[in-house]
């Protein structure tokens, strides 16, 4: 019993002792290019290729501070758009038979607007209203990882895994939508590259249920002009 307690304490010691949560978050932000760099980002446009149902399709993601986003892609040849204007999330989703702009059901709205996301919720977490807890050490695919619990401003709970040597994210475990059921999802991050000093994972692989969705970023524009109307989608009802 004492031996087991010692083992647990010794495993936790480097996390709880040598590195506090604040230190870890600071290193994570630094690894992504630094807080100062991210704080002056007011808008982003990301274009790339998404592989969904083993089809390659282009995607466009637009984001504007403080909390507006638009994501356009296609699924099985049908264009799907999700837009969030900071308060309401609407979509056109022909896959679900939604051909005209419509409110995303409240329960699904957060999941829908986080179908793709660029900025780590751990960077400037407090300012974003995200609560972070350090859970300890773990592994992702046999690779050592630091495990954190993130409770988003909207209440969504996620588990993040950081590489203890680079302090960049290895993986995230959360929930997502799958036509239209909510499912457990793993997202794996790789191919980190700097764009105007912002270090961004240029590849995300998401696995949930029988799905695999990958995003390969081809271009990131930092602080482009984006019309506010891009985040509006007039609901027909």
């Amino acid at each position: 019993m004492i031996g087991r307690l010692f083992l647990v304490l010794s495993l936790l010691a480097p996390v709880a002792g040598a590195q506090t949560l604040d230190e870890l978050l600071a290193k994570h932000a630094a690894a992504h290019g630094g807080l100062e760099k991210w704080r002056v980002v007011n808008s982003l446009t990301v274009t790339g290729t998404e592989v969904i149902f083993s089809d390659s399709v282009p995607f466009v993601y637009e984001w504007k501070r403080p909390d507006s986003s638009r994501f356009e892609h296609s699924i099985l040849g049908k264009k799907v758009t999700v837009a969030h204007n900071g308060s309401a999330t609407r979509w056109i989703n022909p896959i679900l038979g939604i051909e005209q702009p419509a409110d995303v059901p409240e329960a699904d709205a957060a999941l829908a607007r986080r179908a793709f996301e660029l900025e780590s919720p751990l960077v400037d977490a407090a300012a974003k209203g995200n609560k972070v807890e350090l859970l300890g050490k773990d592994e992702v695919d046999g690779q050592p990882a630091l495990k954190l619990k993130v409770t988003r401003k909207d209440g969504a709970v996620e588990t993040w895994y950081l590489d203890p040597s680079t302090h960049l994210e290895l993986a995230r475990f959360d929930r997502t939508l799958d036509l239209p059921e909510a499912q457990d999802r793993w997202t794996y991050y790789s191919d980190f590259r700097a764009v105007e000093g912002l270090v961004i994972p240029h590849r995300q692989d998401q696995e949930y249920s029988i799905r695999h969705v990958s995003f390969t970023i081809e271009k990131v524009q930092v602080n482009p002009e984006i019309e506010a109307g891009r985040f509006e989608m007039n609901a027909s009802k």
């Binding site: 592989v51 149902f53 099985l76 695919d141 046999g142 696995e207 249920s209 029988i210 695999h212």
Partner: protein, 421 residues
């Protein structure tokens, strides 16, 4: 409800007359046929040797490319003949192609096109036995055609004649011929979920169980000297082994959802895997004091969840796609050794300790099959379309297809190529 016509004493005859025996006994340096789905022994493994152990940057030599209609049917390779199925106009077609250049030797319509959101056309793979090729269209038409000219010997419409229903993704299992028998999960009504047919006439010799048709090709194995056919039933969620006379030999409750083929781990174990929340199980088949079969779960876990592509076994390790993550697990325990991503919902086969991995975006990768870690030995982009059909290896040639074209690569060493000529 079992309806049996009593075949009796077939096991030994079936074993000896099976193509599996002849393929396994062939000289691997001379190459081998690939007579059915998942190869000579239904395990995704070719016994061939003399294969390139690494590829140049440009990849192996391309022997030929040919357009082909849509479909996910894999290929059967017998000597100088290739057999497959694809969409042509309004029909699903069966083809015999010339191995040397892909020219069509004959083509026969086998049913209407099966339209489906993920891709139209046939899903099943032909099986060749002797001078007959057996093919199942996606709408459930089972055909026996002469290999020489495609002449139809018999046809059985599973929907019309057995009251079956077309699965959501179409009939996808491949016919299994063993001795005089063709076995299939037909999904027929009134106790005709599983049928044993006379391969020469298509007549039902026995039928058993109720339930809708699934997607898994039955597996022929011999355990403790007992020839048997293992059915992993997608919809019913059980694993059932039939004797050649149609009697249920053993049955094990499992979970619905399987699409991938099970694996035989000699001498007496069966591995099967399914996606979503199912995972994998390793069963050990024994014999009780009463002579009846016993089934024991050695392990089950969720580390290997095959979706539509099946795993392979090599030197005590199972390699396969856990959804979109290529993994190596220990066969004895189910413990994970490594994981590699980047190939999407790929597929793989194995030959001479090498994995031939086809990513779902046409990336072809050669890797060592070793639990020590993923070791890539070559990588090329061979196709642009969605590649959901597993590669086929026969006589040193690697056959690939997507929904638009077929491509054939020479993966032999120069000396092996010389020896095969």
């Amino acid at each position: 409800m079992l309806k049996c016509c009593g075949l009796g004493l077939l096991a030994t005859v079936l074993l000896l007359s099976s193509g599996l025996i002849s393929a396994a006994g062939a000289d691997p340096s001379k190459g081998a046929d690939w007579p059915q789905f998942r190869g000579p022994q239904q395990n995704g493994v070719s016994t061939e040797k003399g294969l390139l152990r690494s590829w140049p940057e440009s990849g192996p030599k391309v022997l030929w490319k040919k357009p082909i209609g849509s479909g996910f049917s894999s290929l059967t390779a017998i000597g100088d003949a290739l057999y497959t199925m694809a969409v042509e106009g309004e029909s699903e077609m069966a083809y015999r192609l010339r191995e040397s250049d892909g020219e069509v030797v004959w083509r026969v319509p086998i049913g209407p096109v099966f339209p489906e959101m993920f891709g139209n056309g046939p899903r099943s793979t032909p099986m060749v036995e002797g001078d007959v090729v057996y093919m199942l269209s996606a709408t459930g038409r089972l055909h026996a055609l002469k290999t020489k000219d495609g002449a139809r010997l018999w046809e059985l419409d599973l929907v019309k004649e057995l009251g079956s229903t077309t699965p959501n993704r179409g009939f996808s299992q491949s016919p299994l011929v063993d001795g005089d028998l063709l076995v299939l999960e037909a999904g027929g009504k009134e106790g005709k979920a599983v049928v044993g047919l006379d391969k020469k006439t298509g007549k039902i010799l026995w039928s058993a169980l109720d339930g809708k048709p699934g997607y898994v090709t039955p597996l022929a194995v011999t355990i403790d000297g007992v020839r048997q056919y293992v059915f992993v039933r997608t919809i019913e969620g059980d694993i059932v082994s039939f004797l050649p006379d149609g009697k249920v030999y053993w049955k094990h409750p499992w979970k619905p959802g399987a699409i991938a083929s099970p694996l035989f781990l000699a001498p007496n174990r069966i591995f099967t895997s399914a996606s979503e929340d199912v995972g994998a199980v390793l069963l050990e088949i024994g014999k009780g004091e009463d002579g009846k079969a016993t089934v024991r779960e050695v392990w089950n876990n969720r580390l290997m969840k095959n979706h539509f592509s099946s795993s392979v076994l090599y030197e005590g390790h199972i390699y396969g796609f856990d959804n979109a993550s290529l993994k190596c697990i220990v066969a004895e325990t189910g413990e994970q050794k490594w994981v590699q991503r980047g190939y999407g919902k790929g597929s793989l086969i194995l030959a001479d300790g090498l994995l031939y991995i086809l990513g779902d975006q046409g990336q072809l990768v050669l890797a060592e099959a070793t639990p020590a870690g993923f070791q890539e030995k070559g990588k090329i982009k061979v196709m642009e379309g969605k590649t959901w059909t597993a590669p086929v290896l026969s006589y040193g040639r690697l056959y690939l297809r997507d929904e638009d074209e077929m491509i054939v690569l020479d993966v032999r060493t120069p000396s092996a190529a010389k020896g095969m000529q």
